[in-house]
């Protein structure tokens, strides 16, 4: 089926998210939609899927204009979508999720689960998915959940399949498998729209590439285009994709973690007996697919996890069992992985957010009174130093872009006298310019002699920053390897395989 978007314009108030976008996807073609976070790719696809109503423009399928009042209409017309945040109900089984919305019933109105199971099996056999129709979705690994999303779309005979940032949650191996699935679907005649901001993937699988920037189509490219060409098109200026970094000069171990285990309230072991150290003046990157214990490990270091056994020492002093306040006072700086939830108070101003973790003593508080004049000076300084773009220090951080929000978090954490700096997913959801900035600051922190831990699910980021790489899988350390370890080895380690040469750094 051929899909054509003509002159789509979508506004949110004064913001133009899509500005007169024209796009044609031919039958049996993989068409990549490349653009930075916030360029308007997802908005465009939500318009296509009937979730948003566009102000102008039309959607044509095989040259017939369509009018979608909601996702139901889009699905009936043959459009399927694999959402970035899976649209699956965690407490339902695979079969229930697949049948939802077009249920078959038997006499007496009872659900025909047998038919739904058969449909799941049939599709999953056709593509070699190996999905159990009776498994609860919440118990499935994300890679399998994504396949359930694909099965869901295919069970409604989707002719056009939209993948919205599908690789964000996958291991490199799963990403390769997904690419193969896309090729298979293409061979079966399905048209595919592949939304991403990862250049490597686009070049691997796409037949045609359309680049979107700030809501506008800025150009088409062939898959043969180089990374630099695509990046320049995407960002609008020449970008440096590598991080300038002198070799590390590691000193004595600063943070020493011994036999650390973290358990949740139900007795599940989230972090399983891990031991490692971080030296002064080095960056230890913790790599791994989301949900393999990295989050809980950092929370345990910060004193945010209640059930922890093992030892954590920083500069010879124990940190385990200490309150967050005590951990902060010991000189630990922390950039949480979800800045809007754990890093900032959206309704507070930039200035207020900059003093959040120092609200208990001088120089910000004197005899129960906020030192507002001091705070204003401090905030103006930091805003300048960290290049936070805003209308002033009184702007609520909720109104800033992701990149500027992250700069506020960095400014706050790095303005203390640090003995250890932990940055979890420091560039998640940021534009290229902000990523460059954040990476520079992290390297600068290292060069100032502070031990740094970077937790990242992005191999590009790990490779760019790490002096040593620690890979986690199912709560355990698979191995600690040098920073220049090839991606293929890291990919295998992220899937739980111990490195063959047993390289240890």
């Amino acid at each position: 089926m051929k899909l054509e978007l003509r002159g789509i314009t979508k506004r949110f108030g004064a913001l133009v998210a899509n500005d007169d976008i024209n796009l044609t996807i031919e039958e049996g073609e993989i068409h990549a939609l490349l653009g930075e976070n916030g360029a308007g790719k997802s908005t465009l696809m939500n318009v296509l899927y009937g979730l948003y109503r566009a102000e102008e423009g039309e959607i044509l399928l095989d040259d017939v204009a369509q009018h979608f009042a909601g996702p139901g209409d889009a699905m009936n017309a043959g459009i399927g979508m694999v959402h970035q945040h899976f649209m699956l109900i965690p407490v339902f089984t695979v079969a229930e999720n697949v049948m939802l919305g077009h249920e078959q019933t038997r006499v007496g109105g009872s659900l025909d689960l047998a038919a739904a199971r058969a449909r799941v099996r049939e599709i999953s056999d056709r593509f070699g998915f190996d999905v159990d129709p009776d498994a609860l979705v919440e118990n499935l690994p994300v890679g399998v959940q994504q396949r359930v999303e694909i099965i869901k779309a295919l069970s409604r005979d989707a002719k056009v399949l939209v993948f919205d940032e599908p690789t964000a949650v996958l291991t490199p191996q799963e990403t390769d498998e997904l690419m193969n699935i896309m090729r298979q679907l293409k061979a079966a005649g399905t048209s595919i729209v592949f939304i991403t901001h990862k250049l490597r993937e686009v070049r691997a699988v796409a037949d045609r590439i359309t680049v979107i920037r700030l809501g506008k189509v800025v150009g088409d490219a062939a898959p043969t285009a180089s990374n630099e060409e695509l990046a320049t098109l995407m960002v609008g200026r020449a970008v440096d994709l590598t991080v300038d970094k002198a070799p590390a000069a590691p000193g004595a171990p600063a943070l020493v973690v011994t036999n650390l285990t973290v358990i949740d309230a139900l007795g599940q072991i989230l972090v399983n007996d891990v031991s490692f150290d971080v030296k002064v003046g080095e960056i230890l990157a913790i790599a791994g697919v989301q949900g393999n214990g990295q989050t809980e490990l950092t929370e345990a270091l910060m004193g945010l996890q209640p059930r922890v056994v093992g030892d954590i020492t920083l500069d010879g002093k124990s940190l385990r069992g200490h309150s967050v306040r005590q951990v902060l006072d010991a000189g630990v700086g922390f950039v949480p992985e979800d800045r809007t939830r754990d890093g900032l108070v959206g309704g507070f101003t930039i200035a207020e957010n900059l003093m959040l973790d120092r609200s208990n003593k001088l120089p910000f508080v004197k005899r129960f009174n906020l030192q507002l004049a001091f705070l204003a000076d401090f905030a103006r300084d930091k805003v300048k130093e960290f290049d936070v773009r805003s209308q002033g220090i009184e702007t609520p951080v909720g109104r800033l872009s992701g990149g500027n929000q992250q700069k506020v978090v960095l400014a706050r954490e790095l303005s203390r006298d640090l003995r250890l700096f932990i940055a979890a997913q420091p560039t998640r959801g940021l534009d290229v310019g902000s990523i460059e900035f954040v990476h520079e600051r992290i390297v600068a922190t290292r060069d100032a002699g502070t031990p740094v831990i970077v937790i990242s699910t992005e191999l590009d980021e790990v490779a760019a920053l790490a002096d040593r790489i620690m890979v986690m899988y199912r709560g355990r350390i698979v191995g600690i390897v040098p920073g220049d370890t090839p991606r293929s080895v890291l990919g295998l380690m992220m899937a739980g395989e111990t490195p063959a040469e047993g390289a240890a750094a």
Binding site: G101, N139, G267, I269, N272, R474, G475
Partner: protein
């Protein structure tokens, strides 16, 4: 109070198909609670034990099959039960010490033993009519069960229904008037459902359409209905009681054969039409929620409204109509007050039943069957208080009046633990 068991997991790499590794968290909560109750039971039944003989009457005079009365010597029974309680406590402590989970059935056995011990103690030289005790429990539980079913439907679809109390009261009031005027209890039942739906409409409109906090709307609705019915009662109903507040009650219907089963028959099958409707309602809601298209969509909307939206389900509509349905079910419970048990409307006659029903929803983990069982437990606690005050137990009646609410608090706070409700319950769905 919790300590972590040493982790002795093998260190070889785990295969990708395994679930996450787990360990048992050592929690002394259960043995400590059981220990406290054992001591209390011992004090009551042995140290302050009463002498005499307790009689449990198992049959009513109209039964075909007459079971003999059970005679229990009060003090020896108390001693035996105290020993058994202590044994179970020790067993649970041993289980925790050896990293085992204390099974729920053991706690249930403990509770039943404690109950029997208490009944024996309270009825020294008295007769406890067991069928009467259970029959009354069911009667008191009927409005709770209807209310809880309404709560389950509403919360499963994603709207917290604090307004159950208001729906019950509106149902009771309306059914009294309509049944009195028409002299048709069935019309009263219908009117009660309509009244419940009307209360639900307000809840639905404010919480779904205008995104007002659902708990606040619910609380305000309860106050509104209480005030409105109270005002109308004293201004309209009380002066014209003969014409407006004398509804005909439903007759009891004995189900042939079933009503002659010892103990069970008199309790469950010599009831009024509303109670039989309740049996059907429990089964229908259970079947509907877990085995039909309606239930699948309802649960989907309550768990992940956006996912439901993306497969073409109308989230707002589903919520609106199911909250209305919940109101109709709760309204039926209100009718039971006027057409089933009391026989006339009284000011604030629901007396917090809606809130107990809400507790039953949570205690029953949003499952219609479990919520029904929870409501029955609360009904039993209330009726136990009635029966014991009639036979003249040595416990001050003020303490007995606290019993149903104490049971509610202990049940909801202590036993539920970390139960997980519908993920999107209480959260408005705002489409961008």
């Amino acid at each position: 109070m919790s300590t972590i068991a040493p982790v002795n997991q093998p260190t070889q790499p785990t295969g990708p198909e395994e679930g996450p590794a787990t360990t048992v968290i050592k929690s002394w909560k259960v043995p400590i609670i059981l220990g406290v109750f054992t001591v209390l039971g011992f004090l009551l039944m042995v140290v302050f034990g009463r002498t005499g003989t307790s009689t449990m009457v198992l049959s009513t005079s109209s039964d075909l099959i007459q079971l003999p009365d059970v005679l229990l010597p009060t003090l020896p029974t108390g001693i035996v039960i105290s020993i058994l309680l202590a044994g179970i406590t020790a067993l649970s402590a041993w289980m925790v010490q050896t990293h085992r989970k204390v099974p729920l059935w053991l706690i249930s056995v403990f509770a039943v033993l404690l109950l029997i011990g208490f009944l024996t103690w309270a009825s020294a030289d008295e007769r406890i009519p067991v069928p009467g005790l259970l029959f009354g429990s069911l009667s008191l539980a009927v409005p709770l069960i209807f209310g809880a079913l309404g709560g389950v439907i509403s919360e499963r679809v994603g709207v917290v229904n604090v307004a159950i109390e208001g729906q019950l009261l509106a149902g009771a009031f309306t059914s009294a008037i309509v049944a009195s005027v028409t002299q048709q209890p069935l019309l009263g039942l219908l009117a009660a459902m309509v009244a419940g739906v009307l209360v639900s409409f307000v809840l639905a409109a404010f919480s779904i359409k205008y995104f007002v906090d659902q708990v606040i709307v619910g609380v305000v609705l309860n106050v509104l209905v209480t005030g409105l019915t109270g005002f109308l009662f004293s201004e309209v109903l009380a002066p014209n009681a003969a014409t407006l507040n004398q509804p005909p009650k439903f007759e009891r219907i004995n189900i042939p054969l079933l009503s002659e089963i010892p103990i069970i028959g008199p309790v469950f099958f010599r009831q009024t039409l509303i109670v039989y409707i309740m049996y059907i309602a429990v089964a229908a809601v259970y079947y509907g929620i877990f085995h039909t298209k309606w239930g699948l969509r309802l649960r989907a909307v309550g768990e992940h409204p956006q996912a439901a939206d993306t497969v073409g389900i109308n989230v707002t509509g589903t919520r609106f109509w199911n909250v209305s349905l919940a109101g109709a079910v709760a309204g039926l419970g209100g009718a039971y007050f006027t057409l089933g048990s009391v026989g006339a409307f009284g000011k604030e006659m629901t007396a917090g039943a809606g809130f107990i029903a809400l507790a039953a929803v949570i205690f029953g983990r949003w499952d219609p069957i479990r919520a029904t069982l929870a409501a029955l437990l609360f009904g039993f606690a209330s009726n136990l208080q009635n029966v014991l005050s009639i036979i003249g137990s040595p416990v001050p009646s003020e303490f007995m009046l606290m019993l149903p609410y104490l049971v509610t608090i202990f049940a909801v706070a202590g036993l539920v633990g970390q139960s997980r409700g519908p993920a999107a319950s209480g959260k408005p769905y705002i489409k961008s």
